[in-house]
Symmetry: C2
Subunit: 289 residues, 2 copies
């Protein structure tokens, strides 16, 4: 039997939640999509665009009878949502999320949905998220993109299989990790770069000659700092949620910078070039892949 | 009288040198372009593409009778070129360059072209340079782009005017700065970001789980590290040439990271968000401009 969800509740109908709804609709894998969120204007927009079929005015209505619930809100809002939906979950209702950090989501599920853990499958779709809101949603957002599942020890294999099928219906490539491994990987390749980009822009913006600096900043600077355009609220939540792994990466990076600083102080061109060359060599095949 | 150069010698026919040649030709501002370089294959290619009109087999031939000479080679090769051309320069021959650092070029000119400083006009075109070689050259590379001139104290106003006209004929927007100011600005907005991007990629590439890390690195990482695809040799030279300014920026940045680290250690969400918000707010109008 092909994968099918009769009722999907999307809590947070933004880029991610809206794109899951559109993708499942396009795949013919969902009967109806109910949306719930903080912004009535965004929900109205989502409805008028056909991203969702119904707007739920409260969480009980949104969740009642749903086969699957997608928590697609910033990590900082998850606890309140879980508390609110807990009394209304059906015995077989799947709960998955799209948060950028996973140990915290797992902990929140253990705390707020203790009777429901067999059906909880934390997930992280790796898809660009500079644009936001339902109007940015696209049916093909996840096509060919990685989605990492971090099942809890209590999660049933059947729930993992169902949530895997959901994301596969969206066109995604699935991987499984522990939440600890996930958070370490993304601290390194995503959370740290965001911190570094924010730090650089903020540092320069505070200078007396900031206007001159930005005037002469070119495309390299633009791309390096693109992620500093991301939502400050969302990235505050991510940084706090993954604090330990991010602090570890920040410490590693500072050590690395100190080595570069030493090489530069000593005018050690060979050492500098070795770092630059290794970096260039590592990046090229990755980009080609 | 409109700006016109009878003979332009381009020493180093890469992306920058080749694009200047094409731009001046398109503007009808040059009679003939003679190219000189290390790679015969690249010169042959430049000739076949019409980027240059003649291939000079030695520097004396290249420079003889030239109205203007463009030094478009990595900073590390400039000294040898200046030494070699010095005996062949005409009294009115303009000498300009396209190097990314300017105090070092000024010093090299003072050392190797002491009799010719009135006609020396160091310049830095701010144009993307990931691609390289004559085949990457484009007539419109400099259209609307900034070019910074850093005249020497000995440079004549007439020479500044001629070199300004040369770059304006390429479509560029001209600014004048001292070499010290130039190097400080570009240490901040270009050289430091390059160092930071190289450092991050190199740090991750050395990990045991590098393959996993790169697998899950997404578009944010790709853009953040795009400048780590740049030429290691060129960036070694730039880092060394602008060592003092770059060391100062590296120290500032490390202090900034320590503040972020302290905020993160203290789980001070408000402090983190303030940094992220200032950065986002500073970047948005810049990008829109």
């Amino acid at each position: 039997m092909p994968f099918f969800i009769q009722k999907l509740a999307v809590l947070g109908v933004g880029l991610i939640g809206g794109s899951v709804a559109l993708a499942l609709k396009q795949a013919g894998a969902v009967g109806e999509v109910v949306g719930y969120g903080r912004s009535q204007a965004n929900l109205d927009h989502a409805y008028s665009l056909g991203v969702i079929d119904h707007i739920a005015t409260n969480l009980a209505v949104a969740v009642q009878g749903a086969d699957a619930i997608l928590l697609a809100v910033p990590v900082g809002q998850m606890a309140a949502l879980m508390q609110a939906i807990a009394p209304h979950l059906g015995a077989d209702t799947l709960v998955t999320d799209a948060g950028s950090t996973k140990q915290d989501v797992a902990a929140l599920m253990a705390q707020h949905l203790p009777a429901h853990l067999a059906n909880c499958v934390p997930a992280h779709p790796i898809a660009g998220a500079e644009a936001s809101g339902a109007s940015a949603a696209r049916a093909d957002l996840f096509v060919g993109k990685n989605v990492v599942l971090t099942p809890l020890s209590a999660t049933s294999p059947a729930a993992v299989a169902r949530v895997s099928a959901l994301w596969q219906a969206c066109g995604a490539k699935l991987s499984n990790m522990t939440a600890v491994e996930h958070d370490a990987v993304f601290a390194a390749v995503s959370h740290l770069p965001h911190l570094l980009a924010y730090a650089l822009v903020d540092m320069l913006a505070q200078r007396d000659n900031a206007e001159t600096l930005f005037k002469f900043a070119a495309s390299g600077f633009r791309d390096f700092t693109r992620i500093a355009a991301s939502s400050p609220e969302m990235w505050r939540d991510i940084a706090l949620a993954n604090r330990n792994a991010l602090l570890a990466e920040l410490a590693h990076y500072q050590t690395h910078l100190q080595h570069l600083q030493a090489a530069l102080s000593a005018a050690d061109g060979a050492a500098l070039e070795a770092v630059f060359r290794r970096a260039q060599a590592a990046r090229a095949p990755w980009l080609a892949a």
